[in-house]
């Protein structure tokens, strides 16, 4: 089947074309286009993962030129994991959003004057492009595309706070993108190449190359909101409408993290910026502690979930100080990181969608005033509970599998302190999750009950489904293992001696 060869390109082109078409046809048809495209793109991602497992990693040369002249897409197992995550969460969010937003009529086109669907499809296309690209300048364009669609989707809500949060996000995004581009400039000046694989082969230990990579990684840390560069995230993720917050926390922060993963594991020659890897781990640990503590004291549900994202992002960076250890440490840590990213994506999306439903049903998202939700809106409470299982790391959830793998990798590398950080993080997550659940179980007193009834099939069962997937992800670990083993196309150029 020759079309299968072009899956990487289709994963970008299909949602992009759909976005443009959705813009032209107007708001009423746009939601249907989004649903169809969502299903199609998710299927394409699954097909690509299947191919990655059966035939191994693929490098797709756009324009037929190939590096160094042209741009290559890298379709390997690691990218496939993220692409499938984008597909699943994206499809779920699309279905949810068709129920969450009022259907478009002639005089009320919907959020953003009916342009939500166009903007969302642009975001989807840009996420796919970011996970597939193998060229460092193309990463810049994809980062700008993702950042721009994220800001667009945040500011779609009415009111001053989304605008303020969106502007803060936008300035942070611009600063990050420009710093990243400066790094690319230095890298090109030092090595004369933009393709990731060729850079891995031709980078030497020059000052310019190390500075360039350092700038790029610093910029990506800003975009991934790693402590202390996380200042823009909580307000942006909390102020956005629920489907948008779900995508931002579950997918967008993983995009810039993925580029850090590629740069540090695949592109960077050994011995570069050695101490910086430990610094990344330390910042990750700080993120886990700081984010969890902040989440513990939040009064509003969406802010609590946003700070939880800040904390969970920290787990993703524990792989870097472990990467230089030999043996099976790196594959185990990589698998743990990917399992964590996947399960966090599913569970966090579920939490934000549920928080959005709480906002709609109760009219507010103050945690204390959501008392009694377990009895009044049981599906909502169950979604939170299941998502909490993953956050805390209880078996058989993906969170448990991820923590197990990371702890194992740390102990094997002899760096037991990271294992301690992971365990403490689980305890802190339990603290902030139990606090919310305790309120849900409590007696409501005379607090007003839920109002309205918004298409419960889509809007309540979809998040529950996502959370359920996350809490059963332990059973999917063998499949993920096969995906990871069938290649990062280049892992080995960097770190495994």
């Amino acid at each position: 089947m020759s079309l299968a060869l072009h899956l990487p390109a289709l994963l970008v082109v299909v949602p992009l074309a759909a976005a443009a078409v959705a813009f032209v046809v107007g708001p009423r048809a746009a939601s249907w286009i989004a649903l169809v495209t969502g299903a199609l793109t998710a299927a394409l991602a699954a097909a690509m993962a299947w191919l990655a497992v059966t035939t191994g990693p693929v490098s797709y040369a756009i324009g037929g030129w190939g590096a160094p002249l042209g741009i290559n897409l890298i379709a390997d197992g690691t990218a496939a994991v993220f692409l499938v995550l984008v597909g699943v969460v994206g499809l779920a969010v699309t279905v949810f959003a068709t129920g969450y937003f009022r259907p478009a009529t002639a005089d009320d086109p919907g959020p953003g004057h009916g342009m939500f669907w166009t903007l969302w499809l642009f975001m989807w296309a840009s996420l796919n492009a970011l996970f597939l690209t193998g060229d460092v300048f193309n990463v810049y364009v994809c980062l700008e595309l993702v950042g721009l669609s994220a800001v667009a989707l945040v500011t779609i809500s009415e009111g001053a706070e989304p605008l303020r949060a969106g502007m803060r996000y936008m300035f942070a995004s611009i600063f990050g993108a420009m710093t990243y581009l400066l790094g690319v400039a230095l890298l090109y000046g030092a090595a004369g190449r933009l393709d990731m694989r060729q850079l891995a082969e031709s980078l030497d230990h020059s000052v310019a190359a190390q500075t360039g990579l350092a700038l790029m990684i610093a910029a990506l840390l800003l975009k991934t909101a790693l402590v202390p560069l996380h200042f823009w995230l909580p307000s942006a993720h909390a102020a956005a409408p629920a489907p948008v917050s779900a995508v931002l926390s579950a997918l967008v922060v993983k995009g810039s993290f993925f580029v850090v993963l590629r740069l540090l594991l695949d592109v960077m020659p050994p011995g570069y910026l050695g101490d910086a890897r430990v610094l990344l781990g330390v910042l990750g640990g700080a993120a886990i502690v700081w984010g969890s503590l902040q989440a513990l004291f939040q009064q509003r549900l969406k802010l609590m979930v946003a700070y939880s994202t800040v904390a969970q992002v920290g787990y993703l960076f524990i792989i870097f100080p472990l990467a230089a250890a030999g043996g099976t440490v790196l594959p185990t840590a990589l698998l743990g990181t990917l399992v964590h990213a996947t399960s966090h994506g599913l569970a966090k999306a579920a939490m934000f969608l549920a928080a959005g439903m709480a906002l709609k049903r109760y009219g507010h998202d103050r945690i204390a005033d959501l008392a009694g939700a377990a009895r009044r809106t049981p599906v909502l409470a169950a979604t939170f509970a299941l998502a909490g299982v993953t956050m805390m790391g209880l078996p058989p959830s993906g969170g448990f599998a991820a923590k197990w793998l990371l702890v194992g990798a740390s102990l094997e590398a002899g760096q037991w302190w990271w294992a301690l950080v992971v365990v403490v993080g689980g305890l802190l997550a339990a603290a902030y999750m139990f606090r919310v659940l305790a309120h849900f179980i409590a007696d409501p007193g005379d607090r007003p009950g839920p109002v309205g009834n918004l298409k419960p099939l889509r809007t309540e069962w979809v998040p529950l489904g996502l959370a359920a997937c996350a809490s059963l992800l332990l059973f999917a670990v063998p499949l993920l293992t096969r995906l990871v083993e069938s290649g990062t196309a280049m892992v080995g150029a960097g770190v495994i001696p």
Binding site: A9, I62, G63, G64, L69, I71
Partner: protein, 229 residues
């Protein structure tokens, strides 16, 4: 308005200075003889008949970057449209009426601008020029028309505007998919039709870019901006 700071904030100042020093040190450490891609690009561009190396890089070798960048521009325009306070687009002219001076100026300038835009696209293959430059000229001409008080003709409605905005991206996508249909990879132009396809893409991109720039400028006009009616 913004308060001038009395004491220069120390930490951002130190950070900026440090950044400057770091970058200069990195730049000065690069050996002066280039090892970039210039020779490879020249050879490849000659083999496909493009004298303008930059256009060859933009639309052929790294056409994927250009595709995404055009998507960025369209996305920004869609976002600005979604932020409007009133849902309708460009309902009324910006300023009150076209005075005689402005009308005469526009009668000469705007057709010249259109010709200049087409010329820029046409010679883009061999001399500096191309879709973005031409699109900027077209955009400027549209803004000039709007600022001079010309009313929007009836056929430029919401549908026409949306279609023109999207046509650049859609054409680019269609032709890149056409390459797959013709047996190559994405954006791998069939050898004989290369120049024609690139010209078609550039012409339609020019149109879209011009409309984008005009919308980006004009869409922020609100009711209080001294408008008639």
């Amino acid at each position: 308005m913004s308060r001038p700071s009395r004491t220069l904030p120390a930490l951002p100042g130190i950070v900026s200075l440090a950044v400057f020093v770091v970058i200069v040190r990195a730049v000065l450490s690069i050996p002066p003889t280039g090892q970039g891609l210039a020779t490879q690009v020249s050879q490849a561009a000659d083999s496909i008949g493009f004298k303008n190396r930059v256009t060859a890089v933009l639309l052929d070798f790294r056409g994927y970057d250009t595709l995404l960048e055009v998507a960025v521009l369209m996305l920004a325009t869609v976002t600005v449209l979604s932020l409007r306070e009133e849902p309708c687009v460009l309902r009324r002219p910006i300023s009150r009426r076209a005075t005689a001076v402005l009308a005469t100026l526009n009668k000469g300038l705007v057709p010249l601008a259109v010709i200049a835009a087409v010329h820029l696209v046409w010679i883009g293959a061999s001399q500096p020029g191309g879709a973005f430059q031409a699109g900027a000229v077209l955009g400027a001409a549209s803004i000039l028309l709007a600022l001079s008080g010309f009313a929007r003709p009836r056929w430029v409605g919401r549908g026409a505007m949306r279609a023109t905005l999207a046509v650049g991206v859609l054409t680019f996508l269609a032709i890149s998919l056409l390459a797959i249909y013709a047996g190559g990879d994405l954006l791998q132009y069939p050898d004989g039709a290369r120049k024609t396809l690139i010209l078609v893409i550039e012409l339609l991109l020019t149109l879209s870019i011009g409309v984008s720039l005009a919308i980006l400028f004009l869409s922020s006009a609100s009711a209080e901006d001294g408008v008639d009616r």
